[in-house]
Amino acid sequence: MIKTVSILQIIVALTALAFLLTGIFKYIKRQRSQTFFKLMASVIIWGSIFVFSIFPSITHSLSAKLGFGESLNTLIFIGFVIIFIILTKIINIIERIEKNISEIVRKEALSKINQTKTND
């Protein structure tokens, strides 16, 4: 099934394997940050990347079975766009939270001055 394996395939496969094993070890070590849901997501995503990088021809047969035919590239492109949109949303949410935290911290720091002024 493996005809010729390129360096890129090996790099992608090793990277996927590293993330996959890290996720599994974290779960075995019962680290708080690693939940069962996160482990499953990790196995599905990195597992798929690992398999597809070693056996790229699977994508074509899978695409045909799912009825996408030759439009697989369009599907991948749409996938990237969706990931980009989600990433942007997450960054915006984080920025808003960071800003709110700073505002709360600032308000608390300045309360000392306001208190002194009120007492005067």
Partner: protein, 226 residues
């Protein structure tokens, strides 16, 4: 501008207990008595040591929010005291308070912002810092559209007019570049003056200083927040 403007010196500080008293004494000896220190969530006695000095208002962020956030808190505090001119300088002693007088003079002569620049007098400045500065200037110019000779300098002075117009969103090292954007956006009159920077073993070894990793982070944040 008032004949006797209220001048406030803002000093953000993070874990500077060993040098903060010396820095404050130097500022006072240079003739400035309205000093606001913002301890940005230090784990040491920076807040108490600064607060023990006469004429020093010591404020504390209960968690670390970054240099930009600390300066912003200081500026808000200065606004409460109705400051006419605000000067910001670093809490690690690398800036020489004797340079403040030149900055204030330029503000009194009609400038809205004065930027202290290390590159106009880079003698003694480590080469990697000079290179990092040029890279910082390049990205600031590319993203915010204004070329300045030191976009990352923390030694700056602002008029009351500028303080009321400047609206920043970022909290960390990208704050310094964001100020450049605000100067450009609000068409503020600015001047750049050479400042003395003292690179001591202490200031060079500080862990939270701008390094390559922080530089990359800063550029990414500048791009996102733009």
């Amino acid at each position: 501008m008032n004949k006797n403007p209220k001048i406030y010196i803002i000093i953000p500080a993070f874990n500077e207990e060993s040098v903060i008293v010396g820095v404050l004494k130097e500022v006072r000896n240079a003739g400035y008595n309205n000093i606001i220190v913002i301890d940005d969530g230090s784990h040491d006695a920076t807040y108490n040591k600064a607060g023990s000095m006469d004429n020093v208002i010591s404020l504390k962020h209960f968690i670390n929010r970054g240099k930009g956030a600390a300066i912003k808190t200081g500026i808000e505090a200065a606004k409460i005291f109705d400051a006419d001119i605000v000067v910001t300088l670093d809490g690690d002693g690398q800036h020489n308070p004797k340079d403040i007088a030149k900055m204030i003079e330029l503000i009194e002569n009609g400038n809205d912002v004065v930027l202290g620049t290390r590159l106009k007098n880079s003698k003694g400045m480590p080469k990697h810092k000079i290179l990092a500065n040029y890279i910082g200037n390049f990205f600031t110019w590319t993203i915010y559209g204004l070329w300045v000779t030191d976009s990352q300098s923390g030694f700056r002075a602002y008029s009351k007019y500028a303080l009321n117009l400047i609206d920043t969103k970022t909290d960390r090292y990208e704050y310094d570049s964001e100020i450049i954007r605000e100067i450009h956006r609000n068409n503020l009159k600015y001047a750049e003056i050479p400042i003395e920077v003292r690179y001591t073993e202490y200031s060079m070894n500080k862990k939270n200083k701008m390094n390559f990793k922080n530089g990359i982070k800063t550029v990414i944040k500048m791009l996102i927040s733009n």
